[in-house]
Amino acid sequence: MSPAKLNKVGKASSSPSTKQTQDCPAKLVLTYLYPDLMNTYGDRGNLLALKYRAQARGISLMLRSVTLGQIWEPGETDFYLFGGGQDRAQQAVAKDLADKLSILKEDLEANVPILAICGGYQLLGKSYLDANGERAKGLGLLNVETRAGKGRLIGNILVEALEFIPGEKVLGFENHGGRTYLGAGTKPFGKTLKGYGNNDLDFPRFEGAVEKHILGTYLHGSILPKNPSLTDWFLETALKKKFGEKYQLKELATNWEQQAYNQALTRL
């Protein structure tokens, strides 16, 4: 796609429900990649979780949506969201990502956090080989490769985190035909306690991949709502980067999140 066709998306707008509180200057800019095409599995819930737990602490979240044919300025985003989609949409996105690579590379190498689920996870990797044998080039920001396998890995999944929130047991639902393999030295997000994770070949099983502040994972659910420690990790990481290491995220109750987690745990 020639640069002339790309539309630059302007400054992030605050969504109508974001309240600006007088005494709290903290503001985070979230860039949501392809929300219209890569949201087949309810991953929008991650946006809602971040918004809720940010706003409850008086932090406002400015949302910028970016889709096919659009670019934006590096250095303006505090974190990224990238969800999963249907195969055909994923192919279209893969082609379009080439134009976004330099922007994402600059931001992610500067430690801007990104939560990339399923298709988004796969596209951050080196390549994705789909069920028809077509190979799509990924962004290469995660040292992983994915290929479609026989059948799908579907079900509730429990992962013990090794990175970012080590020791926490993260609960979600996986549903993917793609099998992801990590390059040597690449860290998984966690150990799978129940379910599959990255693929059905490796044993013991691991889930996801991390690099800098990139989290690639197969967990839907969505992943953040029932795992508030992960939501808070993302918020705190983005805030520390923006306002300095001394920034402390205020404590916030997790009763509702915990209750949903406990109930879902019984369904495992």
């Binding site: 429900s17 929300p35 219209d36 095409l37 949201n39 087949t40 599995y41 309810g42 991953d43 929008r44 819930g45 809602l48 979780a49 918004k51 809720y52 889709t67 096919l68 249907q86 195969d87 055909r88 949409a89 192919q91 279209a92 799908r152 579907i154 079900g155 509730n156 639902f173 549903n175 839907h220 659910g221 969505s222 709502p225 029932k226 509702w256 999140e257 209750q259 949903a260 406990n262 109930q263 879902a264 369904r267």
Partner: protein
Amino acid sequence: MRHGVRIWFASGVAKLCYQVLRRLGKKGTALPGLVLLKLAPNFIKEASKGLRIVLVSGTNGKTTTTHLLADILEQTKASLVSNRSGSNLSRGIAWTLLLASQEKERLRKLELARHFSNSETPTKPINQTVWAVLECDEAALPKVALESNPELILLLNIFRDQIDRYGEVDVIAGKWRSMLEKLQGPVEVVANADDPAVAYATLDHLTTVYFGNNDPSLGKTQLQATADALLSPIDGTRLIYEKVFYSHLGWYASEDQSFGRPRPHYFINKMNLRGLKATSLTVQDQSGKQNLDLEFKLPGIYNAYNLLAATTAALRLEIGEKAIKTAVNGFEAAFGRLEQLELDSKTRLTVALAKNPTGFDQVIELLASSQFTEPYPGLMIGINDLVADGQDISWLWDTNFESFVSWPGPIIATGTRSSDLALRLLYAGIEETRIHDTTEVMAALNQAQALNPAAKEIFAILSYTALLDLRQQLEAAGTSQPMYKAEQKAKLKSNPG
């Protein structure tokens, strides 16, 4: 009708199975149907012979549309069998076809008896037509269509539904596409022009008859955040919408117009949605010769589409206007589709089935936009995650609960995933104090009444097994009204005797 020995044997075993289950107090037709297919794999093919078969499929609206079409066809005084209980996989269809073929046999014998009777006065021949109007699951449709040799296939829509069971919209559209390639014989395909996924599936089936909405007044210009943006199957670019009616239904085309909404042969010319009460609309054909004014008790634009679909199918089957109007005017809600039950002398329970974001959003919008006055109705929402509901409930995050922020009263979250739902409501911006998490459905209903003591109506939006659960408990507790009248009718017809 001639059956092979195998068919005769399979039918016998299946009927026995049905009788045994009934004696054990179980009302299912799935197991007998499964037995049928296991013992006679070609059962559908054999039993379909001599029947007039109509298949109705899609993600949302199958049950309502099938009921409506069956009601219309019943006006013709021919015999009719339908899988009204909603058992829409091949096993449920096999069982229904067994009943239909038995009905055909019964009519044949009656006619023989009449023909050879010694009566002095001449009698009219007995109508031998047996309709089988079958609701069919969208993933099961290809196999059933290719085996049952239907007269008409009605394609309603394809939405995301139970992702963990079916996968994606594109997958179903692709399956329908190859089904249409393989179809032989004079079957009529009637399809929704306003759904790009259905338009794609029928793209190369040039004899497809299309229906769609031509009344722009209820259209918006943008897809909702939760709708799947669809890409043109020709060049992979995003579709541009002139009007959006609900989910991804509307007037669409790719930028270069190489793919776009087919011109409907039958369409809604004018539509008037009157809140929860009723809908009136006019259906026309391209020539203008066909012009039907219809009044319908079911609300919402999604039911307007169901009505249009059933009407188009009926017109294609050459059913007269009078029959269509009579059936439509008298139509009452099917099981779980805004069905009303009397809880006690002053309180009414209205239940709505919600299985996926599209269906859910429609009901939420209906309720949120209704102008309720005091005493405000109660509201409970139930989500189960059993196999029949779909075990992945991520789709809750794509359902527009934000519309309930302005709901005047408490909201009770219930079902096996009540707490996920409660969290969803919290994150939607609904005040913490208004959200109640009560897992058991009957307790939730009692709580809804207790928290809204003056309310004359309680609304319950429930996923499939949650609805079944509540219904069974209410029946056991002895609510006076039958759950729905159609099932009473079906009970009379479904005894294989």
